[in-house]
């Protein structure tokens, strides 16, 4: 290992320096996440548009599955833009992205459990107190 390093140093000093620079930026994040300002402005604009859309769903009083699917669609798009661009998850290593983004997906299992649970509670309440809605 040491021999290899020495050889690299002897043959290509520029490569060695380059590696050290890459290391320094990796450890201390001197360069960090650098992206053009226009990207942020475009995402910002889209967030405004999507928020307006989701507000209009309520303003026009849409109902039923159309309302719920539109709310979920705009919500997921907004959340995705914020996490991917503003929180820079799109440029992070996959190991970090998966470690952070996969566990919340498992909450959906919890959601399913509680849907069954609340259906059951509702049924018992209707049977016992007799005031269905």
């Amino acid at each position: 290992m040491t021999n290899a390093a020495v050889q690299v140093e002897g043959q290509q000093p520029s490569l060695h320096i380059h590696l050290h620079e890459a290391l320094a930026s990796g450890v201390s994040h001197a360069k960090g996440q650098q992206h053009p300002i226009t990207l942020y402005l475009v995402v910002w604009g889209w967030l405004f548009v999507l928020s307006t859309c989701s507000y209009l769903v309520d303003y026009f009083g849409l109902h039923g599955y159309l309302r719920w699917s539109l709310i979920l669609l705009f919500m997921v798009l907004k959340a995705g833009l914020i996490v991917a661009v503003f929180m820079h998850m799109a440029w992070e290593r996959l190991a970090l992205a998966y470690a952070i983004l996969l566990p919340p997906v498992l909450v959906l299992v919890f959601v399913a459990i509680m849907v069954f649970e609340s259906d059951y509670t509702h049924l018992i309440r209707v049977i016992s107190f007799g005031s269905p809605t």
């Binding site: 201390s28 960090g32 992206h35 959340a79 919340p104």
Partner: protein, 240 residues
Amino acid sequence: MAETALTDTVASTTRPAGLRGIAADWSSDQRAFKNVSWGKAMMWIFLLSDTFIFSCFLLSYMTARMSTTVPWPNPSEVFALTIGDKKIPLILIAIMTFVLISSSGTMAMAVNFGYRRDRAKTAALMLATAAFGATFVGMQAFEWTKLIMEGVRPWGNPWGAAQFGSSFFMITGFHGTHVTIGVIFLIAIARKVWRGDFDVERRGFFTSRKGYYEIVEITGLYWHFVDLVWVFIFAFFYLW
């Protein structure tokens, strides 16, 4: 010794793409997040745990709303405001949403200018973010006051299911607390940026560690998360 450790880090940052790369990063006794500093990794892990807390709140709200036999109050009417002589549904919440999104935009730009070592712009944008956040909390205080005056309590309200009040105060209260802490966090870091702490690598009074401009990005992560949680609260509590 130190050289070996460094070489190892270089070798280990080049991995195959996709799932094989993830497995290689996670397997054996080593540092899992190769090019991510401990500060950023810990903020992400904290945010993950916070995600679970807010998930539990929204889940308990869902359970209460699905299992009650009493009609749920219509948020569109509850949060309507009369401006002029027109009653506009949910308008205050819409304005709060736009305020928070604006603050996310200024925060993203602050991170960018931070890495360009532009002290004045970074501090100014962080303070603008904090101002938007304070505005948001102020509007939330107004909303709480209005609802309490109208008779909403954690144990009941004039329009329907009693759980409406407890869900509302719990979820928005916890989110408002997060925003308030974020504002304090932003002001503290903005002060350090303005003073040039990260240019001279001055040591923190509490941790005695050198600060870097990366703390602006870490603060930003927290702030964007607060905005992210609001996206879900807005969708599930106010619009559903």
